[in-house]
Homo-oligomer: 334 residues x 2
């Protein structure tokens, strides 16, 4: 690999001059600049980004850690984040959060050690206090998607889980359902709890009973098993609210195997708007999460922070109801 010194010699100038033309900082005579470019080309010289970073204390790199590489949701997140940061002249380095807060933290630290200029964290389970500690102690800005941290609101990009769950439930109720079961997410997840609370509160608001709440882990299989358990419990219900589309799919499969038609006998509502939704049979009603917008906003906030701008709190992102076949008007009570 050619270094700046090789360029110096070939161009017959000093390192300083080469550096100047490279970063067009300071005045350089046209002719010498040309000579430098000439040398750079013939040598195929590329500046060593490590050395540059060491000298400037800036790597032009953003780090993203996602709680786990799973599902279309994360794909969108990564893609959009990658694209947005590229537009801002920053490379995005992505690391696996490995499903646990511990490994998420490890990933963050290794990104920090690599001197990323900022890190974006999409977490599912890291507790707010831990996040707060990290935000206070990390030498670079930390932006978090999906979790609110008191005192650091501008660095939090959140979705209004509660309201979206309320809307989903209202939709079911508006369709005439009054016995609605639920397959919730993991119990130790803040967002999962918010979705569940929205569901419960909406039911309560309409003086409707809780009829069966089961917990899954967001995977299809867990939705399948939860639904089987629900069926086994013999609690009557005409609609089912699943905390994400994958679990909804699993539930629909379980209902199918039990000989129950969706939506004729039981309506199913999902969450997240998985791209597969429109093609399922029946197609899946869901709540659309603006992941792309959230990813973009996260990067933008990071960039503002880096530029030294004052950043202000961003509004909660809100979902929108996607009406498809899996939810139908209540026909006969079950």
């Amino acid at each position: 690999m050619a270094t700046i010194n090789d360029v110096c010699k070939l161009a017959g100038v000093s390192k300083a001059t080469v550096s100047r033309v490279l970063n067009n900082t300071g005045q350089v005579k046209k002719s010498t600049a040309d000579a430098v470019y000439q040398a750079i080309n013939t040598l195929g010289y590329k500046p060593n980004s490590l050395a540059r970073a060491l000298a400037t204390n800036c790597t032009n790199t953003l780090g993203l850690v996602v709680s786990a590489f799973e599902g279309a949701y994360f794909s969108s997140l990564m893609r959009k984040a990658s694209e947005t940061s590229a537009n801002d002249g920053k490379q995005l380095l992505i690391m696996d959060g490995g499903h646990s807060p511990q490994s998420e933290e490890k990933a963050i630290h290794s990104l920090v050690e690599r001197k990323v200029d900022a890190v974006i964290l999409y977490t599912r389970k890291m507790p707010a206090e831990k996040l707060k500690t990290l935000m206070e102690s990390l030498p670079v800005p930390l932006i978090v998607i999906n979790q609110m941290v008191e005192g650091f609101e501008p660095r939090c990009i959140c979705f209004d889980q509660y309201q979206a769950a309320c809307n989903a439930t209202e939709f079911l109720i508006a369709k005439g359902h009054n016995k609605i079961a639920c397959i919730s997410g993991p119990e130790n997840s803040v967002n999962s709890s918010l979705r569940l609370q929205g569901f419960k509160d909406t039911l309560a608001k309409h003086h409707l009973p809780l009829c069966g709440i089961y917990h899954g882990n967001y995977y299809t299989q867990s939705g399948y098993h939860a639904c089987q358990a629900l069926l086994d419990s013999n609690q009557p219900f005409s609609a089912l609210f699943a905390a994400n589309d994958s679990m909804a799919m699993g539930a629909i499969r379980a209902l199918h195997e039990a000989g129950i038609n969706v939506p004729e006998e039981i309506s199913v509502m999902g969450f997240d708007n998985d791209p597969a939704g429109p093609f399922l049979i029946p197609s899946l009603s869901s709540i659309m999460l603006p992941v792309d917008a959230m990813a973009q906003t996260a990067i933008e906030q990071a960039m503002r922070l880096l530029k030294g701008d004052k950043i202000s709190e961003v509004d909660l992102f809100s979902g929108s109801l996607i009406v498809r076949e899996s939810v139908d008007q209540l026909k006969k009570p079950r």
Copy 2:
């Protein structure tokens, strides 16, 4: 951020000694080592990985670029690659290949500029000659998944697309089908062509006619549209081979909307074994690709290369048939 110098002062030793205890290279008296650790702890000192990399010319980092962040397939790939490299003491940095060979190449170069020790590329469309050039010119080893490069066989981790497609087709034929349509992948993709060729050759081997070949882009929607086009063409067929599960899902939806039952009237075969497959209605027959094993092997080959071991060509990975509901015995000719 505390530096090694701060540690020196606090521990009352020289940089060299600190460095020694840090990398346990050379002999250090227990007591002084303890003092160093002491200092490190109270300062919360973390070695600067950039400086270290600059000095050692090794970043302990592997780079992975995937052709696009899309689908469960890539999730598995990234997860396993991440895990494997972590086990080997290397951090995995992931970048988006942005769907085109041009941006894939850009991603590779930016990884190289960041001085990753090796790069793994999962590509869909980068031509073999381009890959060859890269392998020859890059200052670090390049391992490629999913494409064979002449003269660099040991660096290629490939799947036997052709044979797997043959097996899938044989399965359909064994079920009595003799009019089999196909929704293939993009025409400019090598692997897609291999799958299609396997399909065609197997048909030919059994003296069966080609009845309808349509091209999609691996997305669900394209499978949906391709199937509609196929239906519109009025060519009779009793089975459909889709080049991946997403397109198969789209096709099944299109058949459903046309009032055609799967598998009673038409059998559908997928490819890739998407995790959603078992839960679809009907559940989807498919070909399982050992992505995890391939990812792991890719990392392992990279590690061998880095250690200076001689590496030898790895066998083609082969798929296995996953039999589920979507393919049934031919009942009546259509």
